[in-house]
């Protein structure tokens, strides 16, 4: 966060003061995540009370099964957003991946594994191109990835304007295999992929130098440069990873739909951004959790499931409810930010004096 930068400079050096400060900061930091998790529990609980058969392991697992591709995309999106950017190309890259793999396998008789490798590489390359352009040409990520979106969607239609069904046995097996878990519930291979991506992302974000640099860039890019952090490399890598995640999500989507189509996943970038925001990631960058994004996706899945169980409400209510949820979370974030700023500014007058005293004693 940009607010934490001046605070650490003006921080009193005394151990007790530092601790209380950190405590307060931690509480504030985890608050959005707490709100998100509580909301999920509340929604799932409400569904369980209202509808018979809602409270079951399979309904819960289906949240993952039906949204595996969204988890994978949203994780990549979260990285980009934390670093202070945005990636509007993800939905189009998913569509392109389904289209490219379908046409290569069905039309050209390619080996399915080679196809998967190639489309993943293509996704990563497009992401790399985004990153290079954003960093070296200093263009707005919004515009660059918009161009990427046009490109990927356009390429879909260049391949074919029709939907192509995938009949490849490997894809079928990957699509249909059910891995039984406890309580009679089962998950798919896609869920395993999504969870692996999630675990890797958590590790990268919180336990590596790369992750810390990513947060630093999102907080303040110029400060990160002045601190001597590898800004260029990290930024480019973040976009490359988002491209790779989108391509992987495209494969997961192919397993889910068993077809390639240029209109697949239209508007998915907005779902991914919404999941990240509902999960507590600040769109201004520098703050957020990959875990929050996972819960964000689950919340959006729960909304869909609730509307499905309810039966009378039409599917467009999903969009309206997600929109309202986005609004509430944005306003919450705004309120948190304002209160944090107020705390910092009210603490400011005495901070320099204590800071100087602390220095003198040291």
């Amino acid at each position: 966060m940009s607010q934490s930068a001046p605070s650490s400079a003006a921080l009193p050096r005394g151990p007790a003061a530092g601790l209380s400060r950190r405590d307060r900061l931690l509480g504030w930091r985890y608050l959005p995540l707490t709100v998100t998790v509580s909301l999920f529990v509340l929604m799932f609980g409400a569904g369980s009370v209202a509808f018979d058969g809602f409270f079951s392991a399979q309904v819960f697992f289906n949240l993952f099964v039906d949204n595996a591709f969204l988890i994978v995309t949203a994780v990549g999106m979260t990285f980009v957003v934390i670093s202070g950017g945005i990636d509007l190309s993800v939905g189009a890259v998913i569509a392109f991946t389904t289209m490219a793999s379908a046409s290569l396998i069905q039309g050209r008789g390619w080996n399915p594994w080679a196809t998967m490798g190639l489309v993943l590489l293509l996704g990563a390359l497009l992401g790399l191109a985004h990153g290079l352009t954003v960093h070296f040409f200093r263009l707005q990520p919004f515009i660059v990835t918009l161009a990427g979106q046009f490109l990927a969607r356009g390429l879909c239609y260049v391949i074919s304007t029709d939907s192509i069904t995938i009949k490849d046995p490997v894809f079928r097996v990957l699509s249909e295999t059910r891995i039984p878990l406890f309580l009679g519930g089962a998950i798919t291979v896609s869920v395993v992929i999504a969870l692996v991506v999630f675990a890797v992302a958590v590790f990268l974000a919180h336990y590596t130098r790369f992750g810390r640099t990513m947060y630093a860039i999102g907080g303040s890019e110029s400060s990160a440069v002045l601190m001597g952090l590898p800004v260029a490399r990290t930024k480019i890598l973040v976009y490359t990873m988002s491209g790779f995640c989108s391509a992987l999500a495209g494969l997961v989507f192919s397993f889910y739909m068993l077809s390639g189509y240029g209109l697949h996943a239209s508007g998915l970038e907005m779902d991914a951004i919404a999941a990240a925001v509902v999960g507590g990631t600040l769109l201004s960058g520098g703050s957020g959790y990959v875990a929050g994004t996972l819960v964000g996706v689950l919340i959006m899945g729960t909304i869909q499931t609730l509307i499905m169980f309810q039966g009378d409400l039409s599917s467009w209510w999903t969009k309206i409810v997600i929109g309202m949820l986005l609004l509430v979370f944005c306003l919450l974030q705004r309120a948190f930010q304002r209160s944090a700023v107020r705390r910092l500014t009210s603490a400011a007058p005495r901070a320099p004096a204590t800071g100087a005293a602390g220095l003198r004693s040291a």
Partner: protein, 352 residues
């Protein structure tokens, strides 16, 4: 002989000065595109009069570009404040849905076609809905202080749902003939949408360039805090910029609904926000705010439509349009990029 180098230097200097003009790149791009279209289709510039109405490729381009011009004009003001409105496509759908539901299916009164609500109120109603959603965006951005991209993202996500709510999830067909005049009629031999687009541009142009409103908008784009200190009512101007953008999207929605004679909550105005942003950026308005050109946005919208029409004319599959657009967005953004300009500038300095 000795005057030769001096004159060429003068020409180079003039060219350099010209290339720094805001409208230089859009005008050149449009001229190049038109020249290319002429090569592809020698009859491109021919305009014929049939039944007192003008027909021809150029008229067609202007006519088809009208909704985009209207939206781009409104969006220009928002982008000039360093904002963005990505909900315009959704507002187009909502406004179209409102118009269709106010007209209300196939109603016949004494053998005559009729509407549920009188036509002027249909038009005003759809415009009011556009304005209301624009004000909603303005409220979120200027009063609640949300980032423009998030504030309008909310409406972008929810807006299509609202549009489907209005049409009850169906594609509503419009049967009332007088309504078709909006997009398909001719006035003085000229397609009617051109008058609508012209009126919108003229109104906004007069408002921003004949009063100091335009300068205020630009000052907010440069530095909102400083402009507030200087006595500019930044909050109110920001609010109305979004409101006007919504109104423009509402007007465009009526034109689109009239053109396709139906309202489709899912697909009306789909990707319009992207085309509109592209038009504004192509027109030389910087995404970083602080300067804008309505004429530039008009040129940008015409560039996009000419591109689309020409691609059809060349016989390239229309699907390629998106790829071409992607390349155009990329090239134009790179040209506009300060970093690239600085790089080229340094090169030429070193070369001297």
């Amino acid at each position: 002989v000795s005057a030769q180098p001096g004159r060429s230097a003068g020409v180079a200097e003039a060219l350099r000065g010209l290339s720094r003009k805001q409208l230089f790149f859009p005008v050149v791009t449009l001229l190049l595109l038109l020249a290319f279209s002429l090569v592809v289709n020698p009859r491109f510039f021919s305009v014929t009069v049939r039944g007192g109405h003008l027909y021809g490729s150029l008229v067609d381009i202007l006519n088809r570009a009208a909704p985009l011009v209207i939206i781009a004009a409104g969006l220009t003001l928002v982008i000039a404040t360093k904002g963005i409105d990505i909900s315009v496509g959704a507002v187009v759908a909502i406004s179209g849905a409102t118009a269709a539901s106010l007209i209300g299916g196939q109603i016949a009164v004494q053998g005559m076609e009729a509407t549920k609500v009188a036509l002027p109120f249909v038009i005003l109603g759809a415009m009011a809905v556009g304005l209301a959603f624009g004000m909603w965006n303005g409220l979120l951005v200027s009063v609640l202080g949300l980032q423009p991209i998030i504030a309008t993202l909310i409406l972008m996500v929810a807006g299509r749902g609202v549009a489907q709510l209005i049409t009850d999830g169906r594609i509503t067909t419009i049967y009332y003939r007088p309504f078709f005049f909006v997009a398909n009629g001719f006035l003085l031999g000229i397609p009617f949408p051109l008058f609508i687009a012209g009126a919108v541009l003229l109104t906004l142009g007069l408002l921003t360039r004949r009063t100091s409103l335009g300068v205020f908008i630009e000052s907010i784009g440069v530095n909102p805090v400083a402009s507030r200190s200087a006595g500019v009512r930044a909050g109110a101007i920001l609010f109305w910029a979004y409101a006007v953008c919504g109104l423009c999207a509402g007007i465009a929605g009526i034109v689109v609904a009239s053109n396709v004679k139906s309202a489709d909550g899912n697909n009306a105005g789909l990707l319009f926000e992207l085309d509109a942003i592209l038009a504004v950026v192509l027109g030389g308005t910087s995404m970083n705010g602080g300067r804008f050109s309505l004429v530039g946005s008009l040129l940008g919208a015409l560039i996009i439509q000419t591109l689309t029409t020409t691609i059809y004319a060349v016989g390239v599959p229309p699907e390629i349009t998106m790829v071409v657009k992607a390349v155009v967005v990329f090239v134009v953004s790179v040209i506009q990029s300060e970093a690239v300009r600085a790089l080229i500038w340094r090169r030429t300095e070193v070369a001297r």
